[in-house]
Amino acid sequence: MKKRKWPEAWHEMSPGCIVFAPANAREYHTGSWKAQRPEWDDSKCIKCGICYIFCPEGCITQGEDGFFRADLNYCKGCGICSHECWPGAIMMVEEG
């Protein structure tokens, strides 16, 4: 049976909408909200990590090669990383 993300019917809700599973917010993929996604041009990237620091979602991580990527399950496409990236290595491109 497919695991459901949340109760379907009103009477299946826990009183007060209390959630008993810790750290469940990660199951909610806010990445579906975005209209644009960040794309890195690693040839311009100097691995300074300013994108990682500024990402309000905390969804940018550094790979083993030292370059950065966003977890698109959570990236809302705000473009702050691209705005802050002073070498201009991050482009926001339209979704779809």
Binding site: W6, P7, A9, W10, H11, M13, P15, G16, C17, I18, V19, F20, P22, N24
Partner: protein, 391 residues
């Protein structure tokens, strides 16, 4: 029968809280509730009860503090009035949505402006749709009894909702009345320690006050509505238990000489006793009149209300608040709505009365009832009327 003591009702309400083994109180003083706040803080400071009294800087904070305390599993109490209740408004629906048991005393007072500190119901009425259980008391004894009951009602595992007890400011809070205090052992039996459904504790993490967008929000609202509606049957059981232990009976709609009455008066709160005297006087003159007193405002007791007015030809509803630019007072609006689909229903006279502490005397009720009695079925029922307003 236990000994009766003469005591100011606000003090008595605080003494009642003192019998309830509370863990946390956060009360910001405001006229006419101040004696409740002051006396409760004295009970804690003098070591008569083992509780935390949080001296908050506002009512927004007091309700927030008791909500947080309740989330940890504590038995929590606050009290307020008028502007203080208005200031709490933002938090009230959150407390009920989170199903946090909180007991609150309200010393009902008119809302500004003009600035007025005296009694009416314009503070509680704007909180009507916040999802709280709302009870009204008629005298000091009821203030004590319902204050104790409010904890049990709020905390009951089949309810888990905040509960407020409305005690008319000055008319009740500042009166010295004879009061029979329930025995502490019996109160302990009636109100055992709270067994919370969930608590905030680092060893067992839970999320309370969660986020819900359009994909789940309507279901959450329906669940909240059903929780409040279904609380009535448990409240009735709690009142039965109270009656067995303490001998005093409480009903959602109290009646007085109402069974065979053609004309029914309807009140909420302290006016009930004045109206009883008027009913007695009018009965002596041969007027077929009775009285119904709404104790349970939320959840609205539709079944009991309809049964109480079923045989009446005329129902005179008194409101102590105004819905400006609307259909009159909130009580008469709900009464009309409750009866709209009934095949037989009484003619409804809607009076807005006793605003901002304006005295409502026995003679006022007599005047209202005699007007209705003389008019019989001829009178075109007006939408609503401000009783006794000059001009």
């Amino acid at each position: 029968m236990a000994k009766r003591v003469g005591m100011e009702v606000a003090i008595a309400a605080a003494e009642a809280v003192g019998l309830c083994n509370i863990d946390v109180a956060a009360v910001y003083p405001i006229t006419p509730q101040s004696h409740m706040a002051e006396h409760l803080s004295e009970l804690v400071a003098d070591g008569r009860i083992d509780a935390e009294f949080i001296t908050v800087e506002s009512e927004h904070s007091s309700i927030s503090a008791v909500a947080g305390a309740s989330a940890t599993g504590a038995r929590a109490y606050t009290a307020t009035s008028s502007q203080g209740l208005m200031y709490m408004h933002e938090i009230l629906p959150i407390v009920s949505a989170m199903r946090l048991p909180v007991a609150m005393g309200i010393a009902n007072r008119a809302v500004s402006g003009p600035l007025n500190i005296l009694n009416d119901h314009s503070d509680i009425m704007p909180q009507r749709d916040c999802g709280w259980i709302a009870l009204f008391v008629e005298n000091g004894q009821e203030a004590v009894d319902l204050t104790i009951q409010s904890f049990k009602i709020a905390e009951h595992p089949d309810i888990m909702l905040p509960c407020c007890v409305n005690i008319d400011g000055f008319q009740l809070t500042h009166m010295v009345e004879p009061i029979e205090f329930p025995d502490q052992k019996l109160v302990n039996k009636f109100l055992p320690p709270r067994k919370p459904y969930a608590t905030l504790h680092p060893d067992k993490p839970v999320s309370m006050g969660t986020f819900a967008m359009s994909d789940i929000f309507p279901e959450a609202m329906k669940a909240k509505d059903e929780a409040l509606k279904s609380s009535k049957k448990t409240i009735l059981k709690i009142w039965d238990e109270w009656e067995k232990l303490f001998g005093r009976r409480y009903r959602p709609v109290e009646t007085y000489r109402a069974d065979d009455a053609d004309i029914l008066l309807m009140t909420m709160g302290s006016m009930g006793e004045t109206a009883e005297i008027a009913v007695d006087e009018l009965r002596e003159k041969g007027v077929s009149v009775g009285l119904i007193k709404l104790r349970l405002w939320r959840p609205f007791p539709f079944e009991e209300f309809k049964a109480a007015v079923r045989k009446a030809k005329t129902l005179i509803v008194t409101d102590r608040a105004v819905s400006f630019g609307g259909p009159g007072g909130p009580v008469s609006t709900e009464v009309r709505s409750a009866l709209y689909d009934e095949n037989e229903r009484p003619a409804i006279y809607s009076y807005i009365i006793g605003l901002g502490g304006r005295d409502v005397a026995v003679t006022d009720f007599v005047t209202i009832v005699e007007e209705a009695a003389q008019a019989g079925e001829k009178r075109t029922v007006k939408d609503y009327e401000f009783y006794g307003v000059r001009g």
